[in-house]
């Protein structure tokens, strides 16, 4: 059960009150005579905001953004306030259930920011003729941006008070994350608005006919990405089983790396490439299995073992995202510049590689993998990592790791791979099982 306290409650009440007063005070300006259009729009917005599609970046998107922009272009501010506030509140609770304060607050804040956008649009484009001229385009650009900035402001105030994160950062992160997708919605909404005014308001329905076609691709895409992640994971687990005590190592390092990267508040795209790089970081070791079971290695054999980073990077170079290969190549660099292969130091080492370096060491220590003889106690691992800040590891990454430890997202328990699909493989093919 989500409960709210203090300042957040004050914010919710204030926003809801302003929205309600706005609707009541300006109700005479709402174009009730166009009731068919109002009903159409209300239904569309409610429907659209109740549909969520998983976005490639792990967020969710709804077609309601385009419809909100469209409303800002074709209606006056009070009408937009009513339509968007009520429509969003209804759609939101259709989708996520009716939690009074949350549904009403969400509707109210989107409604307020959208009506501010509509007001500015009216102001800037006032008196323009039927054929759009420059200031109409300018207004069409400014209004959605204002709407989104205000929208993110309300959310950021709430979130930062609730979770105790710094307000400006939260606001900026919100604006940044949604800037491009929202900017790309503007032409769509503008074209729809022109068709709405010049042709017929039912054109909006034609737009809805295009959506399933788009969603089909999006859904297939998200599904295919899941499959892809599954396949890479499965193959990597099979590869890990090649090494003494290695079973599940890559997967565990990837879990650690994702936890640390989240603690560092990196973008979803960066987190994803860190995750892939962590899963694949030892892919270059596959050919070097016979070196690991020897008691003593010659200098040449040590060099060959160290070459696994180059082999791994060479293999991963095929992938369309170059940063994955970079992270693999440099994951044995040390922050003080004494690592291999390049002897890079500090910030010269790609961030992904710095994260993986720490996470690989942590997992090797807690599971007693090469070159550590036996599993170490968790407390000793944490203090060792702390001591190595600025030496082996990036102090920033160490901080994030410690925060993740404190928050309980990483811990001592050595988690076994959740899928046991490969246990039969391991015994069948004579793959050494720890």
């Amino acid at each position: 059960m989500q409960t709210i306290t203090g300042e957040v409650r004050l914010l919710v009440l204030a926003v809801t009150a302003v929205a309600t007063i706005g609707i009541v005070a300006f109700s005479d300006q709402i174009r009730w005579q166009e009731w068919q259009q109002l009903v159409l729009f209300f239904c569309l917005i409610a429907l659209a905001s109740s549909v969520r599609i998983a976005d490639p970046r792990g967020r969710t998107i709804t077609p309601s953004t385009v419809l909100t922009y469209l409303a800002m272009y074709v209606f006056n501010a009070p009408t937009v306030l009513l339509l968007v506030a009520v429509g969003r509140a209804v759609g939101y609770s259709l989708d996520r259930g009716w939690v009074p304060w949350r549904s009403i607050f969400n509707g109210a804040q989107v409604g307020l920011s959208a009506s501010a956008g509509a007001y500015v649009f009216g102001l800037v484009s006032q008196g323009a003729g039927p054929i759009p001229e420059a200031r109409v385009y300018a207004a069409a650009l400014i209004a959605p941006l204002l709407h989104q900035t205000l929208n993110n402001l309300f959310v950021a105030i709430g979130v930062s008070r609730w979770r105790g994160t710094p307000f400006v950062n939260t606001w900026y992160a919100g604006v940044q994350a949604l800037f491009w997708p929202n900017l790309l919605s503007i032409p769509t909404a503008f074209v729809l608005a022109i068709l709405y005014v010049r042709v017929h308001h039912a054109v909006t329905l034609a737009y809805l006919a295009l959506l399933p076609f788009q969603w089909m691709a999006l859904r297939l895409y998200v599904r295919r990405r899941e499959l892809y992640a599954q396949i890479v994971d499965g193959l990597v687990v099979a590869a890990d089983a090649n090494f003494p005590l290695g079973k599940g190592h890559a997967r565990r390092v990837a879990e650690l790396a994702v936890a640390v990267a989240r603690e560092m508040r990196l973008g979803e795209a960066v987190i994803e490439s860190v995750q892939f790089a962590a899963q694949l970081h030892d892919v270059g070791m596959i050919g070097k299995d016979d070196l690991l079971d020897r008691p003593v290695l010659t200098a040449e054999e040590v060099r060959s073992l160290e070459d696994h980073v180059k082999v791994g990077a060479e293999i991963a170079r095929e992938l369309p995202r170059r940063e994955i290969a970079e992270a693999i190549l440099y994951h044995h660099e040390r922050f003080d510049g004494t690592g291999y292969p390049g002897g890079l130091r500090g910030e010269e080492i790609p961030l992904g590689a710095r994260i993986i370096a720490l996470c690989e060491a942590v997992d090797s220590m807690r599971s007693g993998m090469f070159p550590f003889g036996a599993a170490m106690p968790w407390g000793a691992i944490v203090s060792l990592v702390q001591a190595e800040a600025g030496r082996a590891f990036d102090p920033g990454v160490v901080d994030a790791f410690l925060r993740a430890v404190a928050a309980g997202t990483v811990h001592a328990r050595r988690r076994e791979p959740s899928s046991e699909a490969f246990s039969s493989t391991a015994t069948l093919g004579g793959i050494p099982v720890p």
Binding site: P132, R224, V232, V283, I286, G287, L319
Partner: protein
């Protein structure tokens, strides 16, 4: 010395140059801004590749070119189509000069045929048609002729270069293409109405709207490539256990696809064979590099371990979706036609067809590549060795397919 292929490469250059020379003055003279806008939109559309399975892709560019056709006539159509395809090839895809000219040559053919169709059937409203019906007819005819030509050229190329049966290639391409063709006809007509009623700026925005709405299709297509690349990567990691077999799996996969297509297998089966061949040695992941690299005879124990690899490969991929469909052919890719192979001793038609194809591709690659103790055989020598074992080790049908394509593998 000028050989024939050199001359063959020259003719598209002449065609493209001639087409630009003829169309450019007329096309840009009427309204240069419109032509510039449509060309820019055409380049943006070209960036948005919509994959048609593994065999090709299409883009929304002809939709924009149609608007140029309706507004500016045939020369505007040619200019927008040609310049945008050349610019996109050079800017976005970074193709070589020869490839760009080749692509532009095909574009001239498609643009030319659709122009002819336009001016004969749809361009002159001889019959009494309403304005909307007339434009719809024109849009449908232009799009269908344009895409018909493009697809036919692609089919010809696939059957020439890949040995595919034309009807197989055409069916596979059309199956993926038809929904997009319908959207494009509607889009072309809609855009041209927007252009004539609401002006150029709104048309530009509407084209951006189409590109935005289509973006997920581009992502979807790219993801397919990423999966294949990753599989190649894992296969290469295993191949590297023996430096002499670097890229072995990738080559075997290429040969097997070629053989399967020559034999006229449906594209879905070809895809399964592509993945199966790529993953056929993945089970060697668990075998020590010392055994794999051992040049002499293996001890009985080592031999047993080595022979387990096909079953291990199958076990690794079986639980994984998509890959699992290839597991059976991977498991049996060391079965011999006469029943003397492993792991199950299947014989003849009992062995999955994919396995029989992979076995031939695998053997061919092993024969032609260098080893520490011998140099690789020439292609005809390799074919002779394989032919000698047709009917005992290899399926004679697959060997016959190899005879047809071995020179170009």
């Amino acid at each position: 010395m000028i050989d024939r292929t050199g001359l063959l490469r020259l003719w598209p250059l002449l065609v493209v140059g001639g087409a630009i020379g003829v169309a450019l003055p007329g096309g840009t003279q009427s309204d240069p801004w419109a032509v510039a806008l449509f060309t820019a939109l055409g380049v943006a559309c070209e960036w948005l590749e919509i994959r048609l399975g593994p065999l090709g892709f299409l883009t929304l560019r002809p939709m924009v070119a149609f608007v140029a056709l309706w507004r500016g006539g045939l020369s505007a159509y040619m200019v927008v189509g040609l310049i945008s395809v050349i610019a996109a090839q050079l800017l976005a895809r970074r193709r070589s000069f020869v490839e760009v000219i080749d692509e532009a040559g095909r574009e001239v053919v498609a643009l030319g045929l659709s122009s002819v169709a336009y001016s004969n059937i749809a361009g002159s409203p001889g019959v009494a048609l309403s304005a909307v019906a007339h434009r719809l007819l024109a849009g449908a005819v232009v799009m269908l002729v344009y895409w018909g030509t493009k697809l036919a050229l692609r089919v010809a190329q696939l059957s020439h270069a890949e040995g595919m049966r034309p009807q197989q290639a055409a069916r596979s391409l059309l199956r993926h293409a038809w929904p997009h063709l319908i959207v494009m006809i509607a889009g072309a007509v809609g855009l041209s109405f927007i252009e004539s009623d609401l002006g150029l700026v709104v048309t530009g925005l509407a084209a951006v709207m189409f590109i935005e709405a289509y973006y997920p299709w581009k992502l979807l297509g790219e993801q397919g490539g990423v999966l294949l690349t990753s599989l190649q990567m894992m296969a290469q990691a295993v191949d590297l256990k023996d430096p002499y077999t670097s890229n072995h799996s990738q080559r075997v996969s290429r040969y097997a696809v070629r053989l399967a297509r020559t034999m006229g297998l449906p594209e879905e089966e070809v895809e399964r064979i592509r993945i199966g061949a790529l993953m056929h040695d993945i089970g060697k992941i668990g075998i020590s590099g010392r055994i794999i690299r051992k040049p002499g005879r293996l001890s009985p124990e080592e031999r047993v371990k080595m022979q387990q690899h096909s079953a291990v490969s199958a076990d690794i991929i079986e639980p994984l979706e998509i890959l699992g469909e290839s597991a059976r052919m991977v498991r049996h890719h060391h079965e011999n036609w006469d029943g003397t192979g492993y792991p199950a001793g299947l014989r003849g038609e009992e062995i999955p067809l994919g396995s029989r194809i992979i076995l031939v591709a695998d053997a061919f690659d092993a024969l032609v590549t260098d080893r520490p103790y011998r140099k690789g055989a020439s292609r005809p020598e390799a074919l002779n060795v394989i032919r000698k074992h047709a009917g005992t080790q290899f399926d004679p049908v697959v060997v016959r397919a190899l005879e047809r394509v071995y020179t170009s593998l």
